[in-house]
Symmetry: C3
Subunit: 322 residues, 3 copies
Amino acid sequence: MNSKFDGWPNVVESQQFAAAWLDQEFFPLASEMVDVYKSGGNDLLRGMRMVSLFFEPSTRTRMSFETAMHMLGGRVVFATENASQFSSAVKGETLTDTIEVANEYYPHVIVLRHHDDDSAEQAVKASVRASVINAGSGRKQHPTQALLDLFTIRQKFPEIKGIKVAICGDLANGRTVRSLSYLLGKYEGVRIYFVAPTRLAIKQDIKDYLVRHNVCFEEVDDIHAVAEKVNVIYQTRTQKERGGSMEFGVNGHFRIDQSVLDLMRQDAIIMHPMPIDRHNLATTEIDPIVDNDPRAVYKRLQIGAGLATRMAILKMILAPEA
Amino acid sequence: MNSKFDGWPNVVESQQFAAAWLDQEFFPLASEMVDVYKSGGNDLLRGMRMVSLFFEPSTRTRMSFETAMHMLGGRVVFATENASQFSSAVKGETLTDTIEVANEYYPHVIVLRHHDDDSAEQAVKASVRASVINAGSGRKQHPTQALLDLFTIRQKFPEIKGIKVAICGDLANGRTVRSLSYLLGKYEGVRIYFVAPTRLAIKQDIKDYLVRHNVCFEEVDDIHAVAEKVNVIYQTRTQKERGGSMEFGVNGHFRIDQSVLDLMRQDAIIMHPMPIDRHNLATTEIDPIVDNDPRAVYKRLQIGAGLATRMAILKMILAPEA
Amino acid sequence: MNSKFDGWPNVVESQQFAAAWLDQEFFPLASEMVDVYKSGGNDLLRGMRMVSLFFEPSTRTRMSFETAMHMLGGRVVFATENASQFSSAVKGETLTDTIEVANEYYPHVIVLRHHDDDSAEQAVKASVRASVINAGSGRKQHPTQALLDLFTIRQKFPEIKGIKVAICGDLANGRTVRSLSYLLGKYEGVRIYFVAPTRLAIKQDIKDYLVRHNVCFEEVDDIHAVAEKVNVIYQTRTQKERGGSMEFGVNGHFRIDQSVLDLMRQDAIIMHPMPIDRHNLATTEIDPIVDNDPRAVYKRLQIGAGLATRMAILKMILAPEA
């Protein structure tokens, strides 16, 4: 356990990060990384090797991790975009065996997305040599998403302390929501509004955690009820691939549209972990009109925060002294 | 709009290129690039990043673009080989959102193949930072294929002006044919023979375009009727994946075999955008015997032209002054 | 034909390698490569390009070849992880055409895994420019697996000569077994025990080959009958994807478990080409308890031998004089 990085050199769950570490180490480094990528990258991780193992589809997370590695001059020596279907997993190999074997190829870091809730813990246990970064584990965690979410908020507000956040949508199935709640819970004075229909409400274990950490939260069933109170609306998508089903119909209680914009503060922001489901515009969770509102940060600031976050994490793990 | 590159820095459709630009800028640069790749590449695009987004299967096009980037010393920071199935597209993300988001990772160029006819236009509109290269858009366009086709012809003939080309096969569904016709239409004295069964004939909009640009063309239903007149036979495959069905039976009107070779001029060439469908040799569009004829350029010269073309395009977009 | 490498610069089948070459050239170079990868790689293959064409799923083999190329400073300019499904193969292209075309992109080496037994021979014939490495061809061969298997044994024993090996499992469908048998057959005094149920017995052509080369072998139907005699137990998985079905039930004749460990010599080793099928622990071919026995080398030494072997092969082909 490296005290400097609060549980590093692996990223397993968002609880492992302390507020002081976020404020004093992570946010400043992530800010530096924004400058680094905007000015074309560097060679800090020259000679370092990443293996990118995705057992579930992803574009954004995989793209940001692999780009982050390239931006810092490292190599992605192996990438698989759907390991569940095209790999030794089909032949019955356990995740433990896959990770043990991958270690013998001497990568410095393994980025793992996997459908099992406990995949990250299993992988860390099996990894004798490489650092493991959880890029999404089943319904359970997506800690680097939580870090980038907080870094996004931090870029817009002077501090996380005291922030009011409405987290809206399919709260039962989204790992993003879970990881974000844990991380917000590290800060004093934070107030969370969980906005969801009863059957997709936030799970009891998260509520227990928040209670244990004296975080104020409230459950409501209409985003309009809290839109004018909050600094951040964090909207989410129906997690169809994890069995979720959420109604975001026009004029609905959970949809972000003009009626919500009208209520929101001028300095508030709207976030979303992306992608937005726009198969059907009548049921999308964010009306496209919202995209052009200056308070919508999900397509720009929040994405850039994702790249900076992954660069910062890689730097901390692979070149802590540089 | 950069006048120098006639519509660059994006490649959307073959109409954007003028004959003068092709003759004075593109062909000379592509010829240089042949020398560059044969001598092992260079470092012109060091520090440049490509994202390769393929929503439809492809080997050749993707391989030539990614190899081109590596040949010039650049990096492919992210590649997906079947984004329709393994990505945020499954989760309902629009192409616009995908491209906007990809831009925040600061790639210099996005190479896009997509099943929608208007995907390239949409992508250019959404791309605030990266150049977009259309690597095939639905049934509509495949402009870099047309460029490489013309470069192939140019390497074999002193000029494109006055060339006679028979374009044969499933002309209703192939985007290659469409892009090539538009580009040939830029040159004086070109004569095109469209050789197809009535139900798979070339579409009216292309004929209108050619008429508007004073390009002579003729529709015929047997390749033997024109084989001795032309400089180029451009054969195509049934576009099964786009609903085409074409009969190329032995002794048929549309198959390239010994009977067609016997009619052709000695200095004529046979082209094909590849791959050739050889599931069944009795119905393949090119009898394998033709492969060994010196006039067949589809497996060598035309492929090399593809690599040189993609290198030239990348150089023009990413290092115009180098 | 480069006499120095006994049939190089292509790797087609394990018969192409002579025992003297293995002992005097390959093993020493592979040992050097272990040091190279443990110390972070080098730049020996800078400017060299690999194309990685996998028509069948693989994690381990693809990861080790691509990592090997990166470890030596080369570039993987194109990789496809399931070419059968996502490529020109779907459109009816022959392997010969795919390889001919790939050559025009000037890769230095093509690593090929393909479902056809004769794919490697076909590819070598079609490849006018690039070296071809067979990374698994149908039911027939997997020569680099055989090389790494022998290198593993060599790291544990002073010589291959006189070694006693029990090869166990689905011997009818595994190409690994075939390639390994051919290679072991190059050495004097080797004794092989084929341990399989009658219906999955080793094929006649291998037995003929071994007889021709005066290799002693025996067929038995219970691993317990030979466990105390051998230096190596080489266990294999049911080749479901090639129609195999093998019973490895608890207390069965073909399963490696405590009862087999109890019989084995203290200096013997247990190998497996990986992955181990652990869908069902009651029917897995190796009881997980075996993993922790110091004689089990399949997850560590044998994997590292795979990386070193691929590095050595690439070095021999691409930089023979370096």
